[in-house]
Symmetry: C2
Subunit: 709 residues, 2 copies
């Protein structure tokens, strides 16, 4: 080994950096003679055990921590490679007994944590379960769910999220963190009158809070803003964009001040490789996109079917038991496989990263013989035994994650979907990547590999395939595009890989959309019957406003108030006999010309307060919505002037307006109802619920599945 290769070594370890696990960051001298790569084979099969029962009893491990510095090296010293390897081997020569004890401990801790999580949720804050994003989308679209963003939800969700993640269940923390951030935003709104009193203003704050949630969950501020824009928010004017941007900036700044990973980066999955990719590799990348799309669509179907079963059968009556069973199954199946035992984030991080020469993990067990380096980059090498072991373990992990996530997402514990879907994609991608790498290595004479995969070239980076796979699966499940790619950049720092990531995201969206129109959040919104007017779907039917408005043919006529002459009693009878949330006011019953709109709530309150405070207002008093009530005949009770509660600018449409325009107006203006006229005469009313029912019946779904708004 000549001198020139030293630089490669240290370059490689420097480039693969903190992730490669080597603790020799500073200047060290590596003596070529002590480097014998063949010894790595002796320890390869034990490497993943190193972390023991990762993810669960980390607290216990802290107690066993050795004296700091013991067995490490001084500056400018030579390390002893053989001693290092032996230390590693000794540490993990555990017997079968210890393994079984660990196994049982692992499952027991998991059960304890998940039991605590589900019990706390059930006892104190039922809204704390799930990811929360479907409900937040619905709230942002104008619906009100009291308590969903309250302080109890905040506290319980924060605590149970930690428990749920620690229990080893196949779930992530990102969605729930968005919910937690929105709770914080909502609670902060109560401090300011401007936001407390105005539901629309409050929703602007919630949009920014959603951005902050992703910003801190991923360390991806711009991705957070775009996630809020593309996925969560309903109205997103530029002003909200800037405010979200500012909120995400403050979040990123705070995160940076805390410096969670100790390397002044915000993210967990930072990759250090900058290997270029070849244009032909777009074919496998697109294939990963197809895989992600198919898996995403299938996952949504299976998950929705399972959740529907939970809603309708006995399953829903035993949520604690369900969580315990799923936790037990997860623990029992996950523990034996080193790739499912530990934290999923760390698995993804390992899959994303490239193998350095000194990397001793099983996944990096390549044969280093015959390595003739021609550049700074490490050439593709033949896979060793460890890599093949890792591959089938990863394949098992893939199947397991794909199945268990279906039953996990939607249980009565806080559960996010980002990390599990990324894990599925990363495993699939890494497997394909290693396959491609070995194919290119052994068949570098094939036409497709000629020119870029000559022997000794570094032509395939399996970590990149894992990144692309993760983006594909996340895209297939959520149908994000721009925000997905930005989140992937910010997560990994892989700006060179923008084209592969974009291609995979686009393919996965297309494939998934072809197999099922809705993303996971929309599917859950529909499952739960929330009154959410999907802004993405295009309305393509040729119906008119008159087909949707009420009253229909044969219905009793529209309940209206007249602008003058109606008595208090008549108004009260109207209110008592209907459940409408508001009434149009017309000039007269004969002309039906529209004057304005009055909210039921305002009308009831006004009449009640007038009866109590205003001298002489009785049931026979007349109500006037006109500016100047005519003088009353002497002896009659004093009139009730209600012009102040009259909305003089209600939006009206004609009965011939095409429904696609009506839907568009409802979406863009966020209307709750709209009055329908014909030749200037009031004819009927269309509410948001009418539109949702119409959309459902047009799509051959049950219109009555939609909750009342």
């Amino acid at each position: 080994m000549d001198n020139s290769s030293y630089c490669t070594e240290s370059l490689n370890s420097a480039l693969s950096g903190t992730k490669s696990g080597s603790s020799y960051d500073d200047m060290v001298e590596i003596t070529g003679a002590t480097l014998d790569f063949s010894v790595t084979e002796d320890v390869q099969s034990l490497d993943r055990d190193e972390d023991g029962v990762e993810g669960v009893p980390r607290l216990l491990e802290l107690l066993d921590e050795p004296v700091p510095g013991l067995g490490t090296y001084e500056d400018f010293n030579t390390i002893d490679w053989v001693r290092e390897k032996t230390k590693d081997r000794d540490r993990h020569r555990e017997g079968a007994a210890a393994y079984i004890v660990n196994y049982l401990l692992y499952v027991s801790w998991a059960l304890l944590f998940s039991f605590l999580a589900v019990t706390l949720v059930r006892a104190f804050a039922p809204y704390a379960c799930g990811s929360g994003i479907p409900e937040i989308k619905t709230i942002l679209s104008g619906f009100i769910i009291r308590g969903y963003l309250g302080k109890w939800t905040l506290v319980v969700k924060t605590v149970t999220l930690v428990l749920a993640v620690s229990s080893g269940l196949s779930l992530g923390k990102e969605g729930p963190l968005v919910h937690v951030a929105c709770c914080c935003g909502n609670i902060l709104c109560h401090l300011f009158t401007k936001y407390r009193k105005n539901e629309a203003k409050r929703r602007e704050v919630l949009s920014a809070a959603a951005a902050v949630g992703v910003s801190v969950a991923f360390g991806a501020p711009i991705g957070g803003v775009l996630f809020s824009l593309e996925e969560v928010s309903y109205y997103f004017p530029l002003k909200t964009l800037w405010r979200s941007f500012f909120a995400a900036l403050v979040a990123a700044f705070t995160l940076r001040s805390i410096n969670p990973f100790g390397d002044s980066r915000l993210v967990l999955f930072y990759v250090e490789f900058h290997t270029p990719w070849h244009l032909l590799e777009l074919i496998p990348f697109v294939l990963l996109g197809v895989f992600g799309g198919i898996w995403g669509a299938m996952f949504i179907r299976a998950n929705i079917a399972w959740c529907r079963r939970r809603k309708t059968t006995w399953l829903g009556r035993y949520p604690v038991l369900e969580v315990l069973v799923v936790t037990a199954v997860t623990g029992l199946v996950a523990f034996p496989n080193p790739y499912t035992r530990g934290s999923t984030s760390e698995l993804i991080s390992e899959l994303f990263n490239d193998c350095g020469l000194l990397d001793s993990s099983q996944l990096c067990n390549y044969d280093n013989v015959n390595v003739t380096r021609v550049s700074n980059r490490l050439p593709d090498r033949p896979a060793g035994r460890g890599v093949y072991t890792a591959m089938w373990q990863l394949a098992l992990a893939l199947v397991f994650k794909m199945l268990i996530t279906v039953v996990t997402f939607g249980m009565k514990v806080p559960s996010g979907l980002f990390i599990p879907s990324m894990a599925v994609g990363a495993i699939a991608g890494r497997l394909l990547g290693i396959g491609m790498e070995q194919l290119a290595l052994y068949h570098h004479d094939w036409l497709v590999f000629q020119g870029w995969c000559s022997p000794g070239a570094d032509c395939i980076t399996p970590g990149l395939y894992a990144m692309v796979g993760a983006a594909s699966c996340l895209g297939g499940v959520t149908r994000m595009t721009v925000s997905l790619v930005v989140i992937m950049f910010e997560l990994t720092g892989g700006l060179e890989y923008i084209v592969p990531l974009m291609a995979a995201a686009m393919t996965s969206k297309w494939v998934a959309d072809a197999l099922g129109k809705e993303g996971i959040y929309e599917a859950h919104i529909r499952l739960n019957g929330y009154p959410f007017l999907e802004p993405k779907e295009e309305f393509s039917h040729k119906t008119l406003a008159m087909d949707v408005m009420r009253p229909r043919h044969g219905d009793p006529p529209l309940s209206v108030l007249t602008q003058d002459g109606m008595s208090v009693q008549e108004a009260e009878e109207l209110v008592a006999s209907t459940a409408y949330s508001g009434f149009p006011v017309v000039v007269s019953r004969e002309s039906q010309r529209l004057v304005g709109f009055v909210l039921r709530r305002d009308l009831v309150i006004s009449i009640d307060s007038a009866r109590q405070r205003q001298e002489g207002v009785v049931s026979s008093s007349r109500i006037f919505f006109t500016e100047h009530p005519p003088p009353q005949p002497p002896g009659s009770p004093p009139p009730l002037k209600l012009r102040s509660i009259l909305d003089l600018g209600p939006l009206t449409l004609t009965d011939h307006t095409a429904m696609d325009i009506v839907v568009d107006i409802f979406r863009k203006l966020g209307l709750r109802q709209c009055l329908v006229t014909h030749n200037g005469r009031l004819l009927g009313i269309i509410t948001k619920k009418d539109i949702l029912k119409h959309l459902a019946s047009m799509a051959n779904r049950d219109p009555d599945s939609i909750l009342f708004n």
Copy 2:
């Protein structure tokens, strides 16, 4: 020098990579003994001359290219440092005569190029001048400018853009490339009926084209999509987002296939440093944001004042002369200063990058004595004579760029603003960065520097300050936020610097907004009087629809058609006596109840074609908009049935609707006009122009400055 430092050397050259100009990419052995850093001082003052008359006669230089490989090294060889330096010195020992010849050549070429550019623009496509973004914004908001996106504009703008950039004028190519991309999009629209016939659909394509323009100009696909969303587009539904995303993906893919920079990257300004930044550095970063904001606002004012002078005085009558004078002044002032002589992109690239140990440029002329390295990173070093020379040259360049850009942007040649503003910011940032670096070096005992700027630490990266400065100035001029930060990432790969970039972008937007409400594009839109309804500005006045609608008090009554009984002659007289683009149709003049709306164009065409084709239609024929015209008395001419041209669903508002809601509805629904009713009776009409005039008068501007829509 011990062995351990080799790695540092090669690491540094590897990390500062292709930009540092060293040609020793492969494994080379550097013998410590041949490294004498003191020799660098001898050549420092000549280094920038190396590129000669960069930017202009590069074509000529190709002919003088030496035999490839001559004077280079074999693989695994030791380079001769002294020989390298001497070669460098010999090559540039030019006399004063040669300098003057170069000088004159530089200015002459510049004049020739700019003359050709302005002449071509004037002769063939007057719309090809300027950046084009204000006009594209206006077009996307619903205005029609015929020929603005035509094939002649495309061809001429492409050619003259190359000429204008080559002429050394202080302008960039990014804005014009957006215009060129939109021309392509518009021309492609003509191939598909769906897009040719529908102006709204075509605007969706143009939004995607704008994204593509930035995507190829900067190699920043996601930045392009967000630029289109935040800055250019008017309506940007999620569907357009995805389509723009796809278009940008294809653009990035194509760019990657062409591989313009030969390193499989899409961008010019890639920075290789990953030095962490300290939280305290946010103070200078925010200061740069303040500078960018102030400069941006001042630039806009000065530029608009100059452009107004051009519009109103003799200046506007001599555009060719103006271009030639500005080119001559630019050339004469720019040539002597090495930092303004060459291409601005390369200047920015140099300013963004960090100085490696072997970097021989003037800007990197640091004293390397007493360098004791404690980590892989190069410590802060005292500035040498070259750095101080560079600093005052840069300061002069800064003043020059700040002044000359004001008169350049808006001349009758294609001119973008991104590169000049980034250059101003990059220079200011680099100067501040070097200042901070030297301050921290000489005063490392100050409280603020304690703990992170100990002697020998690499605590300040001047290149990062240049990046932040560039983002600030670009933000101050354009008022972008999210798209700005994403473009800066994609341009530089500096994902670690997201917080500094966000902080600078936010500060610069705030400061600039405080000094002047409008960005440069909005300011030019207003200068030119385009009917553009700003989606960002909030309408905060308490006026009602009745204050804005026409007819006003004292005006003649609204011109309406009745649904039955009007004769062809009456309709023709109505059309002839007014210039309105449409007429409301009412039940009868007495009731004024609204039936629908008819476009003037449709009415005229229908009557004309009926007169020509339909048997017996004469001036006294009656026009019916009703579904079933009543039977006509015998002997009377056959009726004209025009229900098919009647828009039965015109949007109506009541006269009491608050204007902020009216403005919101016009923006969100993209209306051209809206009818105003009172108690079901038609009262008046509000057009987009009425709203623009109302906004102008509310802001104390001349309402008549707005062009007719």
